[in-house]
């Protein structure tokens, strides 16, 4: 069954490209400052990752997105296999098994799994449009739920609360934007509410519960997490309007910020660049997310649309959760700041995700 791909007038989305380069560049600048007085090859490492990531971006963007539709399920299955591999031969750190060692690289398959899930959902949705105009019924949601449940459970076994949560959020984002029956919405929402205490009791580990409790009432602070919170908020607040200046953040220079390279880069940024720099960065992210859903709206088919929503949701939730967390609006969850945090898997994931958007955006104008 040969598929007719039609012809696209390829136009590079320069705005998107510029946005990516800006965010990544600022992230690198920030890492330079954050790691300035730490004896670690972090900065050079990140340059390698950006190189690998950007190459992946170019490759992903060049390939016509309709080819991905063909391999969507295959990618999904490969992702599931890698998650199973992690559980068997993965590397454990801080009490959770999340990493695979491949040659010189350490990869976190759960990060890349987010993209595989988006692919699989897009393929499923594309093949099954709603049967009536009223929208999808619960029965029509069975397959999508199965698609996310398998990786979700595998990830929660590791355990990796942040990534598991992200997969759920991507799922809900996609389906709330698609046509759903009102009854389906109500049922989904109420099942989520019922699910929450169950997750609390059976899924969450002690330290995760502690983090949430600490967040709700910092005075409890059973494991000293409140200290991290306070230090992050001190860093951001002390930046004031103009910031303390590049390389002059005392909170990061004197190691008051915890894991500042992967989870707290925004605190470093806000301390040195102040309200001005912080709003610029937040603005760039908002622009990127709005672009994603705009591309979703204008894309030519349902597969592209779902991919775009998924990628938009991926960026959106990562940014909101990470920044919300470091500003003390949300409990501490290990969620990276897209293209900004130090770390290979995250960089690769977001570069590929951006490549997908680029691929779709550059192909919205057909010749017909």
């Amino acid at each position: 069954m040969s598929q007719n791909y039609g012809k696209f007038y390829l136009r590079i989305d320069w705005t998107l490209l510029l946005l990516l380069i800006s965010i990544t560049g600022l992230g690198l600048l920030n890492l330079y400052s954050a790691s300035a007085n730490v004896k670690s090859p972090m900065f050079t490492q990140q340059i390698y990752w950006i190189f690998i990531g950007f190459s992946s971006f170019l490759i992903t963007a060049t390939i016509d997105y309709r080819i991905y539709k063909k391999y969507a399920y295959l990618i999904y299955v490969l992702g599931i296999i890698s998650l199973i591999l992690v559980l068997i031969v993965g590397m454990a750190k801080h009490g959770s098994k999340r990493w695979l060692i491949i040659g010189p690289m350490i990869l976190q398959p759960s990060e890349l799994m987010k993209i595989a899930v988006i692919f699989a959902l897009a393929r499923q949705v594309d093949a099954a449009p709603p049967k009536t105009d009223a929208g999808r019924t619960l029965k029509e949601l069975i397959w999508p739920v199965v698609i996310i449940s398998v990786p979700f459970l595998l990830i929660m076994i590791q355990p990796d609360l942040g990534t598991g949560l992200l997969i759920l959020l991507i799922f809900f984002s996609i389906f709330f934007l698609l046509r759903l029956r009102l009854r389906s919405i109500i049922t989904l929402a109420s099942s989520l509410i019922i699910l929450m205490p169950l997750i609390w009791t059976f899924v969450l580990k002690g330290y995760q519960k502690d983090r949430i409790l600490t967040f709700l009432d910092p005075s409890i602070d059973p494991i000293g997490e409140g200290w991290h919170y306070r230090q992050s908020i001190f860093a951001i607040g002390s930046g004031k309007f103009f910031g303390k200046g590049f390389l002059s953040g005392t909170q990061s220079k004197f190691h008051f910020l915890p894991a500042q390279w992967s989870d707290f880069p925004f605190s470093v940024w806000a301390e040195e660049w102040g309200f001005l720099g912080s709003t610029v960065l937040i603005g760039l992210y908002m622009w990127l997310v709005l672009m994603c859903i705009s591309i979703a709206k204008n894309s030519r088919d349902r597969f592209a649309s779902v991919i775009s929503i998924g990628v938009g949701a991926l960026f959106f939730w990562h940014v909101i959760i990470n920044i919300g967390m470091v500003m003390g609006l949300l409990p501490i969850v290990g969620v990276t700041l897209p293209l900004f945090s130090h770390g290979g898997s995250s960089m690769l994931t977001f570069m590929i995700a951006a490549g997908l958007i680029m691929s779709i955006s550059s192909r919205k104008h057909s010749f017909e």
Binding site: Q231, I236, G237, Q251, H255, A270, I282
Partner: protein, 616 residues
Amino acid sequence: MRSQLLSDSGEIGKKYNYARLFIIICFLILVGRLIQLQIVYGNEYRQLSKDNFLQKRTLDASRGIITGQKGVVLAKNRIAFSVYITPQFFDEKAFEFLTSLLELNQADVDYIKQKILLAEGRKREYSLLALRDIPKEWVMIIESNYDQLPGVNIISQEKRFYPRGLLASHVVGYVGEVNREDIEKYKEMDYRARDWKGKYGIEKKSEKHLRGKKGFVWRVLDANGQVKTTDSALRWLPQPWKKDPVSGHNIKLTLDTRMQRALERSFKNYESGAAVILNVNNGKILAYLSKPAFDPNEMSGKLSASRAHEIYSSPLNPMLDKVSQGTYFPGSTYKIIPAIAALEEKLIADEEYHLCKGWYEFGRNSSFRCSHAHGLMNIHSAVVSSCNVFFFMLSERVGMDRMSRYAHLMGFGTTTGLSLNGEKAGFIPTKQWYAQKFQEGFRIGHTLNSAIGQGNVKVSVLQLAMVYALLANKGHLYQPQIIQKITDGQGVVIKDFKPIVKRKINLKMQTYDFMIDSLRGVVNDPSGTAYKSSLHNLKIAGKTGTAQVRAMARDDEDPQVSRWRFQDHAWFASFAPYDKPEIAVVVLVEHGGFASKAAVPLAMKIYQTYFEMNNN
């Protein structure tokens, strides 16, 4: 077909605008939070972030040194090491390691557990005192194991040290750690917890001079408590970032430590008493003894509750300064007052004789007795052989108030102005006082008792010494001085104390001459009360006194202690040489019995030492 697919391609349709709105609102919430943190509370967080890594460390000032007149050091400082622990970094493992490393006793272990391991909240970020004044070996052991003792620090602090121990301890005094009350009460001194403060003697009196001024240094610390004050870190430090401490002033006392030692040696057979030696020509104190003494090193250290109880409840009262704080019946040493009053007021002639039969005929009461029947007495022989009967007669003639007036004139009844250890004024009664105080009012008997230094007359050893000195120098009532000179750390003189004449007392020259001659007779005439136990080559003049003690029997007391407590106080108030007076010596042997047996020989030893030292 295709167009239908197009219209439904994204399925998003009208939800698109809601989604945009939702996204924008979420990002605006982030921006709102930024406004709150960086703009509304920006200044507060800037300060908090500074407090995080900037630490103001106080630099303690060295306390001034106290020396004797000839430079013998009586109080100085030594380095003491203490262990401080920051709970945030100190864990159970480190605690166990520290315990086994130093073989800590249970009390220390409990203290550390209580204070450091159980510290909560912000307290965990500050270093707390764990072990005070540790031995030198411990310092080495801990320093060589620092890597296994996270959060443990050794801090050196100066500690007061009294190299001469008990010598003149009531003058030198001691220091103690400030308590919360001190910090509140002496705000201008800016005390901080763990500061030392003078608690007794010169240490207390001259606290302002001795203390010095603290300095400070700002340091940059990272989250692990490591010091990062490098040149590049200077830009974060407030200006000025350093101020050197200023050492306290050094104090040179008027005390001659050799005389002090001689005085203490001569007192060695008596448990309790007081004595003072001073220069009659300037009021400077050469030796000052209150017995029993306390050990200032012990008092400045960690005094256990049981030991403190033992000291403070001792019947010998070691914490009382018996020279200026304790007041006593002066006994016969007080007879100079009615004598002077009678001579000045021309109420007695030298050749007027009275018969002493051993008691004084006064109303129905014959309790006014003499030591024995002295026979015919005039005022000179009455002083020499301390005849009570003659003075009973004389005091009736002088009267209570006139006697009281002369006593006040000579300096009794008011403080001398030494202002050390809460000096007491003593008491000289008047008719009016008796009228107010007693239901039966004033009686002549009160006058008779006052004349021989009993009844309600109370004087301090120091007052008596100042009065005898003024007789010796014929009219200069000096303010006694214990501090010779105050210098700063570089030796620059801050204050050099000149003699202060408190009052010039213009008695008739004949009165002074008569009194000096009579006091000479006490020591040098064969009938004198001090004659037998005196040295006659040293030209000493003085007056003995054996003062009865008013004591209450206590049921719970050791009978031996009771017997001791009921014995008379033995006095000897004196000066020498009588033709060219230099020093005055007043000795009080508490419950020493007869003056001639206890106090006089003791004073003789002191004079002997003094003249031996000053003739060489």
